[in-house]
Amino acid sequence: MSSFDLADWLLDIWILATASLVAASCAMVGVFLILRRQALMGDAISHSVLLGIVLAYLISGSNSLWVMLLGAVTIGLITAWLSESLHKVSRLQSDASIGIVFTLLFSIGVILVSLYTGQIDLDQECVLYGEIAFVPFDTIIWGDMETGTDIGPRAFWLILIVFLIVLISITLGFERLKTVTFHPSLALSLGISIPFWHYFLMTLVSMTTVASFDAVGAILVVALLIIPAASAYLLAKSLKSMLWLAVLYSQLSVWIGYALSYWLNSSIAASIAVSAGLLMIVTLLIMQIRKVQQKRHYLQQLNTEQA
């Protein structure tokens, strides 16, 4: 009996570890999306990545980590490039061209998923929720199929790789990313290539969304990209503190969300996203209350001075 408990406990650990890494990667990338006012591009890429995954699977016939990453990054960059070109050539507003491109790519993805349901390891449900509860069961065997050792869930290793890539990229490129984000025209006048860093960021977004896909699905990942970063934006005084705060918010969301899902017996991924939103609401509430208090304090001071 006790060994069964241990197994159960291990499952929880795997789920939580995967969710934490997903949330942390999303939060870090999201910071730059918020600051560069490309929240909607994040939304678009996270949708169209579905098509990348399905196509990669259909073309290669395998669902190995690297094929998925490649497919997703390709489609992610295509989304960014197509939206931009459509905006330039047709003179549509940029958000309109983003909307047209991602709804189309996502639709094709969903249609393919429904056409091949049963033949590929995807269905409409997991597009939406992800299947973080099932993450621990899809494991990687190291070495021989029979004699090799089980080294843990596939989704966990994928997000770990992506998390490390994101972390290293942001650490190394921190100063450049800061300049490009804060003041594009200064960056340009200093000779920094804006398109390079733009597509660099889009690559990170695509990788993060595909790695999060198994865990939280295509749409909830938007919440994890945008909401913790936006909460951090409300408080942060420097880019570094914004990154730390965003990661902190994301981890809190994971823990609260996990508890919430346990309590309500609801989807873990959705509950984590909801918790991120709730934390933001709490932050906003505290800020508004303090604003009112400051105002009252100020008025009181004025009154006493007059008296």
Binding site: L35, R37, L172, G173, E175, R176, K178, T179, T181, F182, H183, S185, L186, A187, L188, S189, L190, G191, I192, Y233, A236, K237, S238, L239, S241, M242
Partner: protein, 261 residues
């Protein structure tokens, strides 16, 4: 280097969609002077600076910095944009903004060194902003924000400074600080080119004037060029036929369709 021309603009043309913003503007700027670019609203002053810095696409013409294209002379050129351009809510403090001026010298993985910090410190002190170094930029007044931008340009240690309306909407203290800065830069033999809109102060602040209104009207030393006749030409309306036809040309895409002979 000082005997060369810091900035030479050759036949620069810029358009916005089909509208000609600037057509065939050519002038050059002498070293060690303060230069004002003057013209009515919508005459293309800011676009001229942006075109020179490669921030906005030009359809024709180019700018040479000490006889070389910008790519080779980036480190000697500093650009101060208009304040409205950026998100002042951005989580960043004054010191970090000024340190950005040092990025031209650094590889992407490098962090600012101690000497970079000292340069930034000096720049902040020159503009009396050292006490504000830890402030978040949203907590600064308009004039202080302008001084941060100027300090950042100063930290670039350039020899040519291009500024887009540095005096717009600033307080008296900042205005004085900017004039002081001009004197310092000139003393070091540096060149300052500003978009300026206040005609009353031109002759006081600047040695050299470039008058534009869609086209170049005149360029030269302030006392020679700032004549009533030239001002009338600059502010007295545009050559409508010229602009109409240029616009028509862009609209029909003739400029591309035409073979160059």
């Amino acid at each position: 280097m000082s005997n060369q021309i810091p900035l030479q603009v050759e036949q620069l043309s810029i358009r916005y969609h089909h509208k000609p913003v600037l057509t065939d503007v050519s002038f050059s700027v002498p070293a060690g002077k303060t230069v004002a670019i003057i013209g009515p609203n919508g005459a293309g002053k800011s676009s001229l600076l942006k075109g020179i810095m490669g921030l906005t696409p030009v359809i024709q013409g180019n700018a040479l910095f000490y006889g070389k294209p910008l790519a080779e002379k980036r480190l000697t050129t500093a650009y101060v944009p208009q304040r409205e351009e950026i998100d002042w809510d951005f989580p960043i403090d004054v010191m970090d903004v000024v340190l950005m001026g040092r990025h031209g010298q650094l590889k992407f993985w490098q962090r600012p060194s101690q000497s970079d910090r000292e340069i930034a410190e000096q720049a902040l002190k020159d503009l009396q902003m050292w006490d504000f170094r830890e402030r978040q930029i949203s907590q600064l007044s308009g004039g202080q924000q302008q001084r941060v931008f100027l300090a950042r340009a100063l930290a670039q240690q350039a020899s040519l400074y291009l500024m887009d309306e540095p005096f717009a909407g600033v307080d008296v203290a900042t205005e004085k600080a900017i004039i002081e800065l001009f004197k310092q830069l000139k003393a070091k033999g540096n060149t300052v080119v500003c978009v300026h809109h206040d005609l009353n102060t031109v002759s006081e602040y600047y040695d050299y004037v470039v008058l534009i209104n869609s086209r170049l009207i005149a360029a030269g030393p302030t006392d020679e060029v700032l004549t009533q006749d030239n001002l009338n030409k600059t502010y007295g309306g545009r050559l409508s036929l010229l602009n109409d036809l240029t616009e028509q040309m862009y609209r029909s895409r003739l400029d591309n369709a035409h073979d160059s002979d």
